[in-house]
Symmetry: C2
Subunit: 200 residues, 2 copies
């Protein structure tokens, strides 16, 4: 992350973009650590080293800030994941399965989970988070299909990939309260084999 | 659920047990609908038609009430699941997989999810919920192994069952904001076949 001093040396338009990114990254970190109830625009602005006025200029409401934050970080992760495997699985589906599961075990998943659960109780959030999750879900599915080299015209291939992503989400949830790494690695190894066999 | 009038005709010890059950069931429903922030002992007592004093006699703290509630309902579900398949899978693993996944799509899962996420931000809850989840997780795994007739001495069998339960948890999460039934049924059909093949 850039420092405030770095930012001040940039042209105005770039400064604005950097400020926006700092806010989005701080929002995800805040949501992951403190949950929805503990995450306000003021707390995020302070964490990002940005004035509250500047934060509100970029994001008029709390809902704007946090849904934009989860979407931004999800897109960054997707790009990073594609970049990891520029040629697709290329015979190493286990590595792809491991990388896909990793999407669900970091701060982004924690933040998204907090937003998801808050949306189940708050009408103002519900519509936006539902739409966001559908968009992120479709994109993750597309990446998984590409990287695994899955032929979705084959019966069951689509559902195999979907079930794998559902499992990854469940593994993410299992990792929220305790470090589940050792168990997860064994499960991933076995399911990578099952997925590999099923996709042919 | 029994009515207050029914309860008043019971001997004192039974009345106490019935009151306790009403509180536990009301607590799970409340947690599923309103989340942790909206779930207090007073709200649950009112919903159960029990005085606040009586509620506090049974459960001195909010943490006592809600962790006991999730545990109680999880045990009820486990018993119901075992009762559904008195002879195990008996060749119908798909029905067992469907029933296992169903454990994660109702109000119990919603309630447990709310408690889980609250525990990730609240130190008072964390230890208790972690312990509760470990206990419920072990019991669910045991039931799944029995009902699926899995031989855990075979390499990969244990991880196949664990991954299936992780997938079920992920499917539960996907069902929190929207009705995911149609997609879920297709995923379950495909993975029931893969699990059946893997368990031999």
């Amino acid at each position: 992350m850039r420092t405030t001093a770095d930012r001040d040396r940039l042209p105005k338009q770039d400064r604005s973009r950097v400020t926006r990114q700092r806010l989005l990254e701080a929002a995800v970190a805040c949501l992951a650590e403190h949950g929805w109830a503990g995450s306000t625009v003021a707390v995020v602005a302070e964490r990002a080293g940005v004035s509250r006025g500047a934060a509100q200029h970029h994001f008029p409401t709390r809902e704007d800030l946090f849904t934009a934050a989860v979407e931004y970080v999800a897109e960054e992760r997707s790009s990073a994941l594609r970049a990891l495997f520029p040629k697709g699985a290329a015979g190493d589906r286990r590595a792809v399965v491991t990388a896909l599961v990793d999407l669900y075990t970091g701060p982004l998943f924690r933040a998204a989970l907090q937003l998801w659960v808050a949306a189940s109780n708050e009408d103002q959030l519900r519509g936006r988070v539902t739409e966001l999750e559908a968009r992120v879900g479709r994109e993750t599915h597309r990446i998984a299909v590409d990287l695994l080299g899955a032929d979705e015209s084959r019966p069951g291939a689509r559902e195999t990939v979907q079930g794998l992503l559902d499992m990854a989400r469940g593994l993410g949830l299992a990792n929220v309260l305790t470090d589940d790494t050792a168990r997860r690695e064994r499960v991933v190894a076995q399911w990578a084999e099952l997925v590999d066999g099923a996709l042919g």
